[in-house]
Symmetry: C2
Subunit: 399 residues, 2 copies
């Protein structure tokens, strides 16, 4: 039975927290000096536990187990959002280190730029061969516009080749992560076994009307793009609950009217709409429903209404045997205090799932706070999580 | 019977069009050198027709008739929106000049800043004593932020007292204006007798929810401020047609979500909503309906929803005897080619109506275009309008 040094696990987390410390959180945006310092620190810790550390040309840090297989890949990311929390990502990487220290045959990985400063899951996608040179060439910082190439050069990563994972090397990938929501806390639970990572479909709905004076244009004459947009959203509000699944979520989080001036009838309205579910069948049914709604409002309304899919990422279900191992360990350590649950947010694990078995474990977020320096989790829940993960890893390796 | 020199009337319009000429339109924002040149030009034209011209401390130009009463006040404004049309405002002032030239006992007025570069109807409101020094002190240019006092100083108006109208001097105020809409054109008509200027009520509706991750927050947990806002708008869309009048208009032209980011559930939504009608009873009924809708959605929804009235301007009905005079003259000159109609837009006439009888006449706008240099009206319609106005003025004076 692998024995995890939980005190050392917590000590590692607190030591990493000091790099880029910001109030009770951290500030380690991708490729900044703080981020690179944390990657070098991580490589030293990997060497301490007998792993062979390396960093690749996009910043992925991998510590490879030196013994024979079968092996697991365990990790997450260590860069952060601006002025963000100390556990988001770091928890999963330190968990990998703790498992390796306990003698489990584990490679530990810290994927680069999960937090999307320069792109979308650049590190994990690069490791599975899904990032080409053209994408790197075009990538820029989302706020400053700094080209990725320049940032890589400043970080000392220029000229280093990008690594590719060898999937047959691994029996599967485990990621421990904070929940970033309040479902566990509200249910009074201490751990969540992830059933799958929801797929996300993002759509752009465009309504074209006529820009006119709000006083001079009669109701019968006007083509008000905001009214058309509202009618689409009202029909979504009415119909989606009847086709969505019990854990589906759908959101219109962005509305842009033109000219958005108090006395001018909007000539154009653009909605960004998304839905998520772990069930691809439900995702398809929601897509069909959305298209039907837009067709129907377009038929009824004087404005022209169109919809296009901006992106769709596939849902990734946890691999049953890995999920069972987590559930068994959760029941052993916290019977009645855990639940199975989907992940609405995307994680690196979604991309690992494309090349190997995958499962994830969630630990509660106090108040659901995330992407903010005040993010936190009770230490006893962190300890519980590493115990569950270590037991699950061992039983899955032996299965 | 007063005989209007229609050729001279058109010639005046074309001469004024040269001051601040921009493509086929004009650029004469309030207190710019072009605007001030046009005011001096207007004072010369007033003197030509025997009026005693003056300019006051806020830029209002008045040409006073030198004979005995009863008299009329006739006019509009001559400054323009940026790169705007040649007739918006100028038409009403040149019409006054044409009536004075025809020997009618008319004072001609060009109200300052109807186009709201520095405030809301500063010129006409100042003439009826509704602008105090504190408002002048606070007023700034809506784009540049230049203080009004500084602009008045640069325009050479500092130190000149502001004029006050003597309402008993006048039997009423006539304003001829372009329609700035397409109702006349779509009906194939050449003139519109304004039944009244719609009142405008402007409201701010605020929905407060919780800002959360669009993936991590279940539908049952979330408080989506954009959904609450949509439900308010949907109920307005359903209920307002049943309480509004046949010429009421209502518009939500501005929606501001926070943070308006594709993956963050909106924590706040602010709607700017307005409605207009010439009937104060209908305005009150729409106000009550809006308050009921907000209360009801607030009761049903998990978000908090509040509404506050930002402003309400009173509707101004045309004075029956003046309106009858316009209708009689319209029937004489264009039988079957005119209609009675409300003005959805506000004009200086609304403020004159607070102190004296008032009526307005509309002439068609080609394509409804306004506040753009391509604004235009057929010359035969301009000629028809001045003939109707002159006959109406004479018959009303004699009534």
């Amino acid at each position: 039975m692998a024995e995890v040094d939980t005190a050392r696990f917590l000590a590692d987390l607190h030591e990493l927290r000091k790099i880029g410390e910001f109030k009770t959180g951290v500030h380690r945006p991708t490729y900044t000096p703080q981020d690179m310092e944390s990657r070098r620190w991580l490589m030293d810790r990997m060497a301490d536990v007998g792993l062979e550390p390396s960093i690749d040309g996009i910043g992925n840090v991998i510590g490879r187990h030196q013994g024979e297989g079968p092996r697991l890949l365990v990790g997450s990311h260590i860069e952060t959002q601006n002025e963000a929390g100390w556990l988001d990502g770091a928890l999963g990487v330190m968990a990998g280190l703790a498992l390796a220290r306990a003698g489990l045959p584990v490679d530990v990985v810290a994927f680069a730029d999960e937090e999307a400063h320069f792109g979308s899951f650049l590190g994990s996608r690069s490791l599975i061969g899904k990032v080409d040179e053209a994408e790197l060439e075009a990538a820029k910082h989302f706020q400053t516009g700094q080209p990725l190439r320049e940032a890589l050069n400043d970080a000392g990563l220029a000229g280093i080749p990008r690594a590719r994972l060898d999937p047959p090397r691994y029996k599967g990938f485990f990621e421990l992560h904070i929940e970033q929501g309040t479902q566990l806390e509200k249910a009074g639970l201490r751990s969540g076994v992830v059933t799958g990572i929801a797929g996300v479909a993002i759509w752009r709905i465009t309504c074209i009307g006529n820009q006119d004076h709000t006083g001079g244009t009669t109701m019968a004459e006007r083509k008000d793009a905001a009214v058309a947009a509202m009618r689409v959203l009202a029909m979504i509000d009415e119909r989606f609950p009847m086709v969505a699944g019990p854990r589906s979520v759908w959101t219109c989080a962005r509305i842009v009217l033109e000219p958005n001036s108090p006395h001018v009838i909007p000539g154009k309205a653009e909605l960004t709409f998304q839905f998520r579910d772990v069930d691809e069948g439900l995702m398809d049914r929601m897509s069909e429903t959305l298209l039907s709604i837009v067709r129907e409002v377009d038929r009824r309304d004087r404005c022209g209404i169109t919809v296009e899919q901006v992106s769709r990422s596939a849902a990734a279900l946890s691999t049953p045997a890995m999920r069972s191992a987590l559930e068994g360990a959760a029941t052993k350590h916290a019977n009645g205090q855990w639940q199975p649950m989907p992940s609405g947010a995307i994680h690196d694990a979604q991309h690992m799932a494309r090349v190997m078995p995958m499962a994830m474990l969630f630990t509660p977020s106090i108040g659901g706070i995330s992407h903010h320096w005040s993010e936190d989790t009770k230490e006893e829940d962190l300890v519980l999580a590493i115990r569950i993960l270590a037991d699950a890893a061992e039983s899955y390796l032996n299965s």
